[in-house]
C-alpha cells in the first residue's frame, strides 16, 4: 500500500478579488504529488472550516492579500479546533508585515509566506509539518 496522499485545502478568504497566487501554489503542490482542494474566491472562515472538515484535509493554505490575516487566520484556527480538527496545519500566504509573523506563529499558524516565497520551501515545510 502506498502512503496516503497529503490533502491540502487552498482557500482565498476575504474580499480582495484575485487568486493568481493561490492557483500557482495549488499547481505547485499538485506537482509535488499532493491533492489540492481548491475552493475559490471570497471564502468565509466558516466556509473554509466546513470544507476542511468534509475533505478531511491535513493542511489548510490561506491566501490573504487584503491585510486581514490577523482576523482571518485565528478565526479559521479556532473553527478547525471547534470541529475537532486541531491537528490540521494552517499556512498563510500573502502580504504579511514582519511584525505580524511571530504573532501568527504564536496563534498556531505553521508557516507564513510572502509574495517572493519559493514553492519548494512551501512544499518542504508542509511535508515537515505533517510528519
Amino acid at each position: 500500500m502506498t502512503e496516503r496522499k497529503i490533502r491540502v485545502l487552498v482557500a482565498k478568504p476575504g474580499l480582495d478579488g484575485h487568486d493568481r497566487g493561490a492557483k500557482v501554489v495549488a499547481r505547485a503542490l499538485r506537482d509535488a504529488g499532493m491533492e489540492v482542494i481548491y475552493t475559490g474566491l471570497r471564502q468565509t472562515p466558516e466556509m473554509i472550516a466546513e470544507a476542511a472538515l468534509q475533505e478531511d484535509v491535513d493542511v489548510v493554505g490561506l491566501s490573504i492579500l487584503s491585510g486581514a490575516h490577523m482576523a482571518l487566520a485565528p478565526r479559521v484556527l479556532e473553527l478547525l479546533k471547534a470541529n475537532g480538527q486541531g491537528q490540521v496545519r494552517v499556512f498563510v500566504g500573502g502580504i504579511v508585515p514582519d511584525e505580524d509573523v511571530p504573532r501568527l506563529r504564536e496563534m498556531g499558524v505553521s508557516g507564513i509566506y510572502g509574495p517572493g516565497a519559493s514553492t519548494e520551501d512551501i512544499i518542504r515545510e508542509i511535508r515537515d509539518a505533517i510528519q
Binding site: M1, T2, R4, K5, A26, R27, L29, R30, D31, A32, G33, M34, E35, V36, I37, Y38, T39, G40, Q43, E46, M47, E50, A51, L53, Q54, E55, D56, N83, G84, Q85
Partner: protein, 336 residues
C-alpha cells in the same frame, strides 16, 4: 461516546467521523472494510445519480443547482466529485467545489472531492464504497460527478441508478458524444449552457443519435399488428425508457427544475418496471465478484512462495512455458 465504532459515529450523524471514514475508504484500509461491513445493512435507500460529461460543460454548476433543488424538497444530498490525478506526479487539483459554494453552511449537504488515482481499490470500487457510506449515513440523494472520458467513468456510471450526461453547445457536438461512447449510458441528457448559441444544433444532433441508440415506439407501431399484439407492444413500450433531453442554464438555474423532474421520473420508472432491483442486484453481483477476485488472488499469493512464482515468470519469459499453461498448472496444483 468514546466507545463508538467509526461506523456507529457515522450513523449517529458525526460529520467528522464521516469525513474520516471516507479517507479510510479511499485508502482501502482495514478500518474501512470493517466499517463498510457494519454499515452495509443500513444502505440501499439512496438514489445514486451520476453526472458526467466532457470537461467544462457545467457539471459542477449543475450539481450545485440540483442540490439546491433537492434541498427544497428536504432531501439530504451528498456529492462525490471526481477529478483526474496527474499521471506524472499523482497529485491533483480538485476544483469542483468552486462551483458549489451556494451549498456551504447547509448541514443537509456533504461534498467530497476525490482524485481519480488517489484510490487504491480501483476507482469504481472506491466510489461505490463512498456512496455506500453516504447512503447508510442517511443521504437520500448521492450525486457523483465525473469527467466523461474513459472506461473509469463508464464504470462509475454503471454504479448510478440514474446517469445524467451533460452536453453543451459548441463542443463539436455529435462527434464528441459518440466518441466518448457516453450516450449509451445516458438516462437523462442535459444540454447545459442553453443560453449559448448553437443549442438547436446540439439538440438536433443528440436527438438523431438517440434515435439510433434507442429504436422506439415508431418501430413497434409501424408493424401494423393485430389489436392484442399492439396492446402488448404498448405495454412493452411503457417499459422502455427514452432518455429525455433537458435544456439548462446552470449559472442561473433555468431548466433545473425540469432536469430534477426527469431524474425523479427515471427513478420512478426504474422502480415500477423492476429495473431498480435489477440494477441493484447487478451492481452488488459485480461488487462481490471484484472482492472475490481480489481475495482469491491474495490467498493464492499467500499460499505460493514468491520464489516459485518468480521461477514460473522466468520460465514464461524464456518462452519455455506459456502464460495459459502456467496458470492452469498453478491453479490445479493449488486444488490438489
Amino acid at each position: 461516546m468514546a466507545h463508538m465504532t467509526l461506523a456507529e459515529s457515522v450513523l449517529s450523524g458525526d460529520r467528522l467521523a464521516l469525513a474520516r471514514l471516507l479517507t479510510h475508504v479511499e485508502g482501502d484500509s482495514p478500518e474501512a472494510r470493517a466499517a463498510l461491513a457494519e454499515l452495509f445493512s443500513y444502505s440501499g435507500r439512496a438514489h445514486l445519480v451520476g453526472i458526467t460529461g466532457a470537461p467544462g460543460t457545467g457539471k459542477s454548476s449543475l450539481v450545485n443547482q440540483l442540490a439546491l433543488h433537492f434541498r427544497k424538497q428536504e432531501k439530504r444530498v451528498a456529492i462525490v466529485a471526481v477529478d483526474p490525478s496527474s499521471p506524472f506526479t499523482g497529485g491533483a487539483v480538485l476544483g469542483d467545489r468552486v462551483r458549489m459554494r451556494d451549498l456551504s453552511g447547509d448541514a443537509g449537504v456533504f461534498i467530497r472531492s476525490m482524485a481519480s488515482r488517489g484510490s487504491l481499490g480501483g476507482l469504481a470500487q472506491t466510489t461505490a464504497a463512498m456512496t455506500l457510506v453516504f447512503d447508510a449515513a442517511g443521504f437520500e440523494i448521492v450525486m457523483i460527478e465525473t469527467v466523461g472520458a474513459g472506461q473509469n467513468e463508464v464504470n462509475i456510471a454503471r454504479l448510478a441508478h440514474t446517469t445524467v450526461v451533460v452536453e453543451a453547445p459548441g463542443l463539436g457536438d455529435d462527434i464528441q458524444a459518440i466518441k466518448a461512447g457516453i450516450l449509451e449510458i445516458a438516462d437523462v441528457l442535459a444540454i447545459n449552457k442553453a443560453d449559448r448559441p448553437g443549442v438547436e444544433n446540439t439538440e438536433k444532433a443528440l436527438r438523431s443519435m438517440l434515435e439510433l441508440a434507442h429504436p422506439t415506439r415508431k418501430k413497434f407501431l409501424h408493424h401494423g399488428r393485430p389489436m392484442i399484439a399492439d396492446a402488448a407492444a404498448e405495454a412493452a413500450d411503457s417499459r422502455l425508457w427514452i432518455p429525455p433531453i433537458c435544456r439548462t442554464v446552470a449559472t442561473d438555474g433555468k431548466g433545473v427544475e425540469g432536469l430534477a423532474a426527469a431524474i425523479a421520473l427515471h427513478a420512478a420508472h426504474l422502480r415500477s418496471t423492476g429495473g431498480w432491483n435489477l440494477r441493484e442486484r447487478e451492481r452488488l453481483r459485480s461488487e462481490v465478484e471484484a472482492l472475490l477476485r481480489e481475495a482469491l488472488v491474495r490467498r493464492f499469493h499467500a499460499e505460493l512462495s514468491g520464489e516459485t512464482f518468480e521461477s514460473v515468470i522466468q520460465n514464461i519469459f524464456e518462452r519455455k512455458l506459456s502464460p495459459w499453461e502456467a496458470v492452469r498448472t498453478l491453479v490445479n496444483d493449488r486444488q490438489a
